[in-house]
Symmetry: C2
Subunit: 167 residues, 2 copies
DNA sequence: ATCATTGCAAACCGTTTGCAGCCTT
DNA sequence: AAGGCTGCAAACGGTTTGCAATGAT
């Protein structure tokens, strides 16, 4: 899951925005502010691309902060349940922190999970989130064609980000 | 992976079509006609919904045909490599036999893997495959919006099939 | 003081690898 | 006869569970 070619860390402001939002959400749900959660949220905030539980453990170790792998799994589970990380379909165990506003804030009802989709760069492992207005009609088409009632859809793109495209 | 509510087996003709096609493909590639392959292909042919390696092993056991789990993995790998089964994104380890013509036969270049997508019924585990002409524009939109070059996309629908919708 | 959360150990599950022997071609 | 394919054993990696100890509120 670790990126092969380097990927610039997020601008400080965006990073701070994420941690602030994360703590706001957790606090609102009565969840406690613990050291492992702090370390993991901070790590996610600095990362643009996908990570995994073991990646995060290694990141923390580099900072001389140790967290048990089990705890990391549980924290990620908690963050996912609160809309603070995505799980990637195409990379088992892969997670990305959510960059776009959560579904509380935006009201595209397209997806039962998050109303946006993910582009992953095959080269630098960067991730970009995207609202896809075209998905609605696509679902309508699928329903008409198949007779199914579509409850959820999973859509993920893989390719090259603008920087890596030019290499 | 085993279906909860019953799902009618495929019509005999469709089932025979699949086995015939499978053997044709395998023979063409110089692959051998072995007992485990026969059992697995037959099992897949009778199944409409998704299965897994262990599901297949159990199916074979019920028919008093034993195949090692490792062999089943290897046969599935082989069938996938030859376009005879899909792997499901949303159900790790899940596979479905391909119902639609393979990409040799149709020429939608939309997906690097298969040019069709999958609808899974959450209730009966049935699966339907679908061509999605709308995906092209969606990719174009994603590329324009993000600056990415999209190489592959993954799209899967989950919902209720026509029968289960009315329950 | 209470109860959520952590850490450790161990189980668990699906999947993969190495290798000897078998069976299709 | 040759070598693709199978079966067995064992390793593997990621994920989960149980339980006692810790620590946030």
């Amino acid at each position: 899951m670790s990126s092969s070619c380097s990927h610039a860390p997020v601008a400080v402001t965006a990073s701070q925005e994420y941690t602030a939002k994360a703590w706001a959400v957790l606090k609102q749900r009565g969840l406690r502010q613990t050291e492992p959660r702090k370390q993991i949220i901070d790590a996610l905030a600095e990362l643009l691309g996908p990570t995994s539980a073991y990646d995060l453990r290694d990141m923390l170790l580099e900072r001389h902060k140790k967290a048990d792998i089990v705890t990391i799994y549980r924290v990620l589970e908690c963050l996912e349940a609160n809309g603070l990380v995505h799980r990637l379909l195409t990379r088992p165990g892969g997670v990305v922190r959510c960059q776009l506003p959560s579904e509380d804030e935006c009201h595209h009802a397209e997806s039962s999970h998050h109303c946006h989709h993910v582009l992953v760069c095959q080269c630098c492992n960067g991730v970009q989130e995207l609202h896809c207005p075209g998905v609605g009609p696509l679902i309508a088409y699928a329903e008409k064609e198949s007779g199914y009632t579509v409850q959820t859809h999973y859509l993920e793109f893989a390719g090259l980000c603008p920087q890596c495209s030019t290499l």
